[in-house]
Amino acid sequence: MKLVLRKLLHNLGSLTELGAEITSTHDFEEIVRTSLHTILGTLAIPKGAIAQYSARPREARIIAAKGISGVIDERIALGRDEVERFKSRSKPVIVKAERNGFSQFIRRNDELFRRLHTHQVVPMITRGQFVGMIFLSEKFSKADYDDEDLAIIETIARHIGIAIYNHCLLLRFKSKAEDNRRLYREMRQLYHDTVKAFGAAIDLKDSYTSGHSHRVAKYAEAIARKMGLVGAELEHVAVAAYLHDIGKIVVERAIINNPRPLTEREYRELNRHVTTGYEILSHIRQPWKEIAYMTKCHHERVDGKGYPQGLVGEDIPLGSKIVTLADSFDAMMTDRPYRTRLPLDQALADLRHQAGKQFDTEVVRAFCRLLLDEISGFARQRTLLMMIGLNFDRETVVNMLDSMIAEFNQSSAEA
């Protein structure tokens, strides 16, 4: 084969491999190092380095070097006019050439260029932007670079420039995406804080149920997690639980705090809180669009005897069913104007009695399993016990929970 053809094939091979490398999924450092090897191996150049330019501060940083040690991360300051001059030319600057237009730049970096054995500096320009420089030593054979060599160097430099440009673009996107994620996290935190503040405001209206919204939220979140809900679904249940009584804001304080049995009119007024709450919360769209309806249904019953719509079974959102149980259980476990709190075994007996009527059986079963896990020490967190306390007969409660779970399992298997 004629040597000219062999050289052409070698150059073409280099460009092909460089193209494949640049579009590969290898990490940036690997791409740059391979690219440096490619340009050096194409013309048998023993030493070289690649520097990436950054406009703020205006400097180039060496990111890859071959045949020279201790130069990675060295920085080369550039004047604004020098950057502009590099941008206006794509040809290499031969360091020792007279009147190359960069005498000040070369003099200023003389010591580094000596260490780099720099024969020429090749600017990398991509989409009109100066992205960096390649420093090349003399060829291994000490032969002069001919015009053909300079042409292939320019071409390869353009390819490497594209890789650096794309990398910078990707970093900017990543940084922007991270900013957005941070803002989103902050916004969510703000939402959560606002929700908690609303919950506390609702609870202040009822002198007997201080902290009710907070406890219902904790119960509901723990049950939902036990039922396998995660991410946004889990969050929606917790938020709905915090805000389930928000409609009470418009109910007269005298009715809420009435120690006597309520009259028909007072019941109607109190029961309005679910539709009022829905009207308040339906203004919320993203990210918690579902919670308005979830709170509206927290007094529905699976047997259809609830309000405001009298929904049955699966027509009631799961989140609402969870909040219903959490709300009722907290009511049983706290002192009321007309009675003291129920003992835990009695509250459990009520849940058992109302499973399939007021409460969804699956939700009661999840609650029982969660409580049993906490009492037995299998649960990582003791969310329920933190609120219930330990003032109960452990054996009685464990036996009840075992029996309830077995009963629910059996009815579930039969269904």
């Binding site: 040597l3 062999r6 070698h10 091979g13 190092r33 340009i39 048998a44 023993p46 060829k139």
Partner: protein
């Protein structure tokens, strides 16, 4: 023997013989230069690189080979290349490397040349 850096090698009468295969043509081929420097540190002063398993040498391979040559020169050690195919020999000629390298047809010739230089 396969070294920790995945290059087949053997030592014959204080001459290290390396078989870079296609390993030379990729970034991991930098390990060949590292292995040569290790051999130099161990006192080896004669190295043969046998290209019998290397069909093609690309630009990355050339760059890495130049690193090996420079490492050998810096240590005043001697390197001989053997079993170079016609395409690679032409490439070395195009790049002006023939004049800078000692090349022998076979590994045995390369080892003999280095032993006679001791």
């Amino acid at each position: 023997m396969i070294t920790a850096v995945e290059i087949r090698e053997k030592i014959v009468d204080h001459v290290a013989v390396l078989y870079p295969g296609h390993y030379l043509n990729q970034l991991r081929g930098e390990n060949i230069e590292i292995r040569c420097r290790e051999l130099l540190a161990e006192g080896i002063r004669h190295v043969v690189i046998n290209f019998e398993e290397t069909e093609l040498i690309n630009s990355v391979g050339i760059s890495i080979l130049l690193g090996v040559i420079e490492a050998m020169n810096d240590a005043r050690a001697r390197l001989v290349i053997s079993n170079l195919n016609a395409a690679s020999r032409e490439l070395f000629e195009v790049l002006g490397l023939l004049a800078e390298l000692r090349i022998e047809e076979t590994e045995e010739d390369a080892i003999e040349r280095l032993k006679s230089a001791v």
